[in-house]
């Protein structure tokens, strides 16, 4: 008699062990993001909103956020580079980015935006240049992890749909 686990492995077309490993990896990734402050409670709200009727909701919001953030960062880079900085315009963009990062639960990015707005209020160009770099740093760190997260989710969903067929 074969032990139960090998019987399951042999009889299952796609090994359930690697699906478990994928899920484990995804959980560990997301947990580490919470612990390191990349994500806050708001991201949990997004996860809770995702359900059977909208399995791609979190991925959709992440993609919208990244598109929005990169557009804003490009504009900010141009604006802060000018000889005379239009601080009101800069502040308006940072406010937008703060809003979308807050809605997605991107905590570090949001906090960096809050600091950035301080420098705008003080009309401090060097402060703004610095703050923009900090925002970019946090954003790209987050985006890398989001990319990994979405890849893992896709692989998990591919398993689930294969199992159903």
């Amino acid at each position: 008699m074969l032990p139960l686990c090998s019987r399951v492995l042999l009889s299952h077309p796609f090994s359930p062990m690697s699906l478990m490993a994928l899920r484990e990896q995804l959980n560990m990734l997301v947990n580490s993001m919470y612990i390191e402050g990349l994500l806050d409670q708001q991201f949990q709200q997004l996860q809770m909103l995702q359900d059977a009727s909208s399995p791609g909701f979190v991925a959709e919001v992440i993609n919208l956020f990244c598109e929005d953030a990169e557009r804003i960062l490009t504009e900010l880079t141009k604006l802060v580079d000018q000889a005379v900085v239009d601080f009101q315009k800069v502040d308006a963009y940072v406010h937008q980015l703060k809003g979308s990062s807050s809605s997605v639960g991107a905590q570090n990015v949001k906090l960096a935006c809050i600091q950035f707005r301080q420098f705008c209020e003080e009309n401090n160009k060097d402060g703004c240049l610095n703050a923009l770099n900090v925002v970019k740093h946090h954003y790209y760190l987050l985006r890398n992890k989001f990319d990994t997260m979405l890849q893992l989710e896709q692989r998990i969903q591919a398993y689930d749909s294969k199992q159903q067929n």
């Binding site: 709200q45 909103l49 359900d51 919001v61 919208l64 956020f65 406010h95 809003g99 979308s100 809605s103």
Partner: protein
Amino acid sequence: MEVVPRDSGLIWWGFPALYSLRFLFLVYYIRRPSGDLLPLLLPQPSLFFFFFAMSSYAEGRGEQEIHVLAVDDSSVDRALIAKILRSSNYRVTTVDSGKRALELLTLEPNISMIITDYWMPEMTGYELLKSVKESSKLREIPVVVMSSENVPNRINRCLEEGAEDFLLKPVRPSDVSRLCSRMR
């Protein structure tokens, strides 16, 4: 079950097995001239209750679909508010500016509620609120304003102008569920 009434009058009569289901029938016995008792089946209070409950249920189902208009220049926030509203089975239309909102309101007659962001380029949520409340056609529609900033002056101004409520972003399902009683 044998129930033998002695005289005319009302009795409760029911199958023992069905007592727990409250299928008790009200039966009125009358004495015929010949002397025997004749049971008359009366309109049953239990059935009245049953039909009343059924019709309330049917009424609820026949209700018109609630259509909410969400206005926000941020694509992320539009996706979020739309999802929260759709999770409560509301029909949602999202637009990215006050101008588009007003255009849609002239075409769509049955908007139950407008939820708008405060800070938007060109037309702020406050200005949209004012336009709605000044329009004789639209002023009955409840308007809710959202903002990422907790500025008491701003909140008061909006409420004074006739806003139904003011929500702080990021908006959560619990915020939206308390709005359902205010929908038109």
